[in-house]
């Protein structure tokens, strides 16, 4: 009953299938083999179609091989089942039934694909108003505000700030280059000087630290010598005679 529309449809599709560079799956390949061989989908000679199928996936080198191999295995199994002695006629036809059902279902779906393809192509040939890639947010309305409203808003904001949290910022924590200059100028006047003389009484911690670091820097450069005769005693700073000589 279904044969007539089916075969005519298959014939009209042959040319189309040949143009396809690849098959969209094992069922697609199987269907096209059935068409090529002009077989009855309800009475597929399994041995022949299985052989053809395996041959074809070998020559095509299909990269989705797993799915095609699975179908090949399925076909071989059906073939093996058909070789078994048939107990009764009912059971004998069964091995192919699932395959036939899947092929018919697939075939039906291909019919819908044809419809979609035709409609899609029609729509593709018509342009709508161009899509904007990203719909920009609607521009903000200009600010409508009177001066008194603005001032009261500022007032409200200021009221919420009860105690401004302010920090005193010291521009430079230490002044080492300054300390170095001081020590150098002192040492040009005097060959030796004591630490207590270098650091004034009541000096700020940052001044003491700057002087100490400046002193160490100059000692490292070899411009002076630092000596402390006894622990916790006063420190004697003297010009480095060797470097002076050099």
């Amino acid at each position: 009953m279904l044969d007539a529309p089916l075969t005519s449809r298959l014939d009209s599709e042959d040319a189309f299938v040949v143009e396809l560079p690849a098959f969209s799956g094992p069922l697609d390949l199987l269907l096209s083999l059935i068409r090529e061989e002009q077989l009855d989908i309800y009475d597929i000679p399994i041995a022949r179609i299985c052989e053809q199928f395996v041959l074809r996936i070998r020559t095509l080198g299909l990269n989705e091989a797993a799915e095609y191999l699975e179908m090949a295995a399925r076909l071989l199994r059906i073939k093996a089942q058909m070789l078994l002695p048939r107990g009764d006629v009912e059971a004998w036809d069964n091995p192919r039934a699932e395959l036939v059902r899947r092929l018919l279902e697939y075939q039906q779906m291909r019919e819908v694909v044809d419809v979609l393809e035709r409609r899609g192509e029609e729509r593709r040939n018509q342009f709508a108003r161009a899509y904007l890639p990203q719909q920009p947010a609607p521009p903000q309305a200009p600010l409508a505000l009177s001066l008194s409203e603005l001032l009261s808003a500022v007032d409200r904001v200021l009221r919420t700030v009860t105690q401004p949290n302010m920090h005193e910022v010291i521009p430079r924590a230490l002044d080492i280059p300054g300390a170095i200059m001081t020590i150098r100028s002192v040492l040009t006047l005097r060959a030796r000087i004591m630490w207590t003389e270098l650091v004034e009484n009541g000096a700020e911690p940052w001044q003491i630290l700057s002087t100490l670091l400046g002193l160490l820097e100059l000692a490292k450069l070899g411009e002076l010598r630092v000596a402390q005769p006894k622990p916790f005693g006063n420190v004697e700073i003297s010009r480095d005679v060797a470097s002076e000589a050099a």
């Binding site: 279904l2 529309p5 089916l6 449809r9 396809l20 969209s24 799956g25 094992p26 069922l27 989705e64 799915e67 179908m71 199994r77 059906i78 093996a80 089942q81 059971a91 069964n94 091995p95 039934a97 699932e98 059902r101 899947r102 018919l104 279902e105 697939y106 075939q107 039906q108 779906m109 291909r110 019919e111 819908v112 694909v113 419809v115 979609l116 393809e117 409609r119 899609g120 192509e121 029609e122 729509r123 593709r124 040939n125 018509q126 342009f127 709508a128 108003r129 161009a130 899509y131 904007l132």
Partner: protein
């Protein structure tokens, strides 16, 4: 044209997507459904009878002004607009299955197509042609897919019912119940594996 027709035309021109009938109705709360329809007919006739380069089409659950197909090549040659890329055969197969069987899980699609469709589903989803519409009750609660309004638009369909009904296809739809033959084959395969 009537002022209502002009209003609708302006709205249709301004929109990049099809405008649904109820959206058109919101343009003029006083207009009745019949008035809207006759205004739309008026626009369509205006384009068709006077011979315009555009036409009014009913598509994707709404109305849209589209250029006529005969000017597509010239427009594309001048690089003013480009046709979208064609969908692959595999993508069309997957869409056809989803359109007819929605909501449908990935495993069910793969069973019909005989190949894995994971990546395809992802790209169809990215193109906005399908969407996740729920989860199945079964094991693992798989995602269920369905088609979107953009799918209708893409295939110039007014609604899903415009696709051929299952019984209009050359091959009848399979019965929803499980085929006893299929069960027999499955059982035989299981035995064969030993």
């Amino acid at each position: 044209m009537t002022s209502l027709a002009k209003l609708l035309e302006a709205a249709l021109f301004a929109s990049a997507r099809p405008i649904a009938t109820d959206e058109l109705a919101s343009l003029d709360p006083d207009a009745s459904g019949a008035e809207l329809q006759s205004a739309l007919d008026e626009i369509r006739e205006h384009y068709d009878v006077e011979g315009h380069g555009v036409e009014l089409v009913e598509i994707g659950g709404g109305w849209q002004i589209l250029t006529r197909a005969e000017y597509t090549e010239a427009i594309e040659r001048a690089q003013l607009a480009a046709r979208p890329a064609r969908l692959s055969g595999a993508a069309l197969e997957t869409l056809a299955i989803i359109a007819y069987r929605q909501p449908i899980s990935r495993a069910e699609i793969e069973e019909i197509r005989g190949v894995a469709v994971g990546n395809l589903l992802k790209s169809l989803h990215e193109r906005g042609l399908i969407d996740v519409v729920g989860r199945a009750e079964g094991l693992g609660r798989p995602l269920l897919y369905g088609t979107t309004p953009l799918f209708l638009e893409h295939f110039a369909l007014r609604h899903l019912e415009e696709l051929p009904r299952a019984d209009e296809l050359a091959i009848a739809l399979r019965a929803p119940r499980r085929d006893p033959d299929a069960a027999a084959v499955a059982a035989a395969s299981a035995e064969g594996g030993e």
